[in-house]
């Protein structure tokens, strides 16, 4: 080996010339696959899910347990579609397109399954803070009351055991999203998991110990992914209790977290010039939509006045 020991070190005064533009290794080529959705032929890259394929041609498929930044668990089954030749319906969120597949997204069978899934959920959980689920119910003409007034529910007392989170499992549809966000898909803390089995299954810490005794690190990523408001920031919960929560008066602004140097995008939700909630965009490459306790909750220091009280007596100008 030659020994360029004597070569001069770079002179700090002189800027270093540019090298070639660095590139990521090219992704493996994905071949195109021809499929048919609702009679329309389309071509999608190999590995595309049926949900993505349907969305690519503006077919709106309902989802509850699916989120772009989580691994599909396909448990809610509200996204099922009819695949020609398949004995059962298939979940659009996780089923990958295969050559020649023919899909119906709005057949009788599909509509019936979606309707029943929504009826099952709405007859067993409190959907009052789940607007998406409620809009699907309208769309699929769901009538949960047809199971009778004594249908079993998951109603239970709200859990408030810390200053940051509220857990109202009476609103939980067991979509597993919070478990995924607490677990391998993001935070890897695994403070919560699904415990028990069947209808009695629920999201739980070990032996149902309160959060402050658990492994929870209050990243709030579970709340960030909850589709029904079963998990809620205490700040939002308190405002809702006080009747002052009003999303029509809120704005959202993306900025960067003031703490460490990772550079997480924070979406600051403000109402009446008070920060009421902090989230992160799902498609953000630094965070993938996930934050830590400081980014999620550490904003109180700019909030000198008391949290927002009841709405002002006057009607906001844009509320008409």
């Amino acid at each position: 080996m030659s020994d360029p020991t004597n070569a001069a070190a770079p002179n700090p005064l002189i800027p270093i010339p540019r090298g070639p533009v660095p590139l990521a290794p090219p992704a493996a080529a994905r071949c195109q696959i021809e499929i048919t959705i609702d009679g329309r032929k389309l071509s999608v890259p190999e590995g595309t899910t049926l949900l993505e394929a349907a969305r690519s041609i503006a077919i709106d498929t309902p989802t509850l347990c699916y989120l772009e930044n989580l691994t599909p668990v396909n448990v809610c089954r509200v996204c099922v579609v009819e695949l020609e030749g398949s004995r059962t319906l298939v979940p659009a969120c996780s089923r990958k397109a295969e050559p020649g597949m023919s899909i119906q997204t709005d057949s009788e069978r599909v509509r019936l399954s979606r309707k029943l899934v929504l009826e099952f959920l709405a007859s067993s959980v409190d959907t009052s803070t789940a607007p998406a689920l409620r809009s699907y119910m309208e769309r699929y003409d769901a009538h949960p009351e047809r199971f009778g007034a004594s249908a079993a529910t998951v109603a239970q007392p709200v859990k408030i055991d810390n200053e940051l989170y509220v857990r109202d499992y009476g609103k939980c549809i067991l979509c597993y999203k919070c478990v995924e966000a607490c677990g391998e898909d993001a935070q890897n803390t695994f403070a919560i998991a699904v415990a028990g089995r069947g209808f009695a299954a629920g999201i739980s810490t070990e032996f149902e110990i309160p959060l402050p005794e658990s492994a929870c690190v209050y990243c709030g990523n579970c709340i960030g992914v909850c589709p029904t408001g079963a998990l809620m920031f205490k700040s939002e919960f308190d405002m809702r209790q006080a009747g002052s929560w009003d999303e029509s008066r809120q704005t959202q602004t993306d900025t960067i977290c003031p703490y460490c140097g990772v550079g997480c995008t924070l979406t600051v939700h403000q109402q009446d010039n008070q920060i009421v909630r902090v989230t992160s965009p799902l498609d953000q490459q630094v965070t993938d939509g996930h934050l830590c306790i400081k980014g999620r909750f550490g904003w109180q220091f700019v909030q000198i006045t008391a949290p927002a009280g009841p709405p002002p007596a006057s009607t906001p100008k844009d509320a008409a």
Partner: protein
Amino acid sequence: MGGGTSSYREIEETDLIILWGSNARDTHPIFFHHVLKGVHNGAKLYVVDPRRTASAQWADTWLGLDVGSDISLANAMAREIIVSGLANRQFIEHSTSGFGGYRACVEAYTLERAERETGVPAAVIRETAHSYATAKHAQICWTLGITEHHNAVDNVLALLNLALLTGHVGRYASGLNPLRGQNNVQGGGDMGAIPDRLPGFQHVENDELRAKFEKAWGVKIPPKRGMNLSAMFDAMERGDLTALYVLGENPADSEADRHRALKLLNGLDFLLVQDLFLTKTAELADVVLPAAAGWCESEGTVTNSERRVQRVRRAIDPPPGVRDDTEILYDLARRLGSDWGTPVSENIWNEVRSLSPMHGGMSYQRLEELDGIQWPCYDESHPGEMYLHSRLWAEPLVGPRAPFSVVEFEPPVDSLDEQFPLRLTTGRRLDSYNTGVQTGRYSSPLRRSESLDLSPEDGARYGVVEGERVRIRSRRGSVVAPVHYDTSLRPGLAFMTMHFPDEVATNDLTIDAVDPKSGTSEFKATAIRIEKHQEN
């Protein structure tokens, strides 16, 4: 240019990650998400840290070295890599300089010597060296465990040497990444808040570059480097520095050897503090200018640890009477006789772009569209650089060779002896930040007050129990804090934070032994003893 060489996404796709002096799990939690994605994708994780931290608990191998023995470990790894024939000869030959001297230096660092100096078993060092050298792609990431030492720059160079030895730099998924402790430490440096640099890391002593700025600004720029923070304190001590303008820093709490810092700040002729809060430092000030919160009450950019320039935006209005930093600076300029007009963040940014080639292509519009851009980004057709130093792999080599540096192990300045037998090291907790000015204002269920964390073995040895308040004495001062048992510590090693200076001024203990090259104090290594404490 100084910055992490790789992108976070490369951490997810690498084969081996060494976290060296970094507890990213607690201090850079979202970066650690990327590490964990890498781990779940199969990457091996090595953590070098005196404590078996939360990060270390995820590691395939934890190397629990003695505080400040990093160079011995790195040099021994290098020697092992060389003698095992695992050095990347082609890369060394093509792209580096100074290998001969380096090889001669590390020759003395046998595994046995390193085991003696670091405490880490030789077999573990050997295995780590082999894994790092033979990994297809590998990343070394570090934080303050490397840099808060009297020989911080040498520590960093020791790690750089390993990457040069193995070719683990300048390629996709291989690199060297300092994780920045503050949201705009990187950006501050980028903008020239370094004693010898102008924006874009352009050297102030390069006449041609300086002339460019002088022309744009219509003023003469002193053709010599300025002072870093530690040098400023020395200058205050000498009486050379008598007025200080502090923006968003709290040195009265955060400086090592706090007694000295307080004394010097008190002795200034004039102290101006611009901050969100009336901090300890602000309390000493002659004038305090209340400033808006940069991250949510003003517009601008910051740069993160992967060199990504990102937009910050005004989400809420600052309280009445509180003004944006740029407004204050513009007003000061006006009072000093130079009218810069009205501050508009995009205009300021465009001025940066016009003077700093590495920011040239980063228009606000592109920053918006691309979710931030990694520097360097020379023009509006440039994508920004995912990783740095691709030039080292270019055929032929572009630019100068990357130099190996000869660095030798030196133990921490504050040595242990019979009087001060315990090694105190400092760090952060997950839910708190620095001196707690910001994080002290939200209610965290995780928060517990300051404590002296000790191994249970030391608790027994010194006859102190969990929760007992003890006096902790160093050669510079003493504080009182309760004992907390922590099994992540071995006997002889103690831990404290600096999150609660009002309760326990940890920096009364620390030493201001400063790295002459970076100006950083050796916060990580203090010699202490424990004394029984009688409450009055």
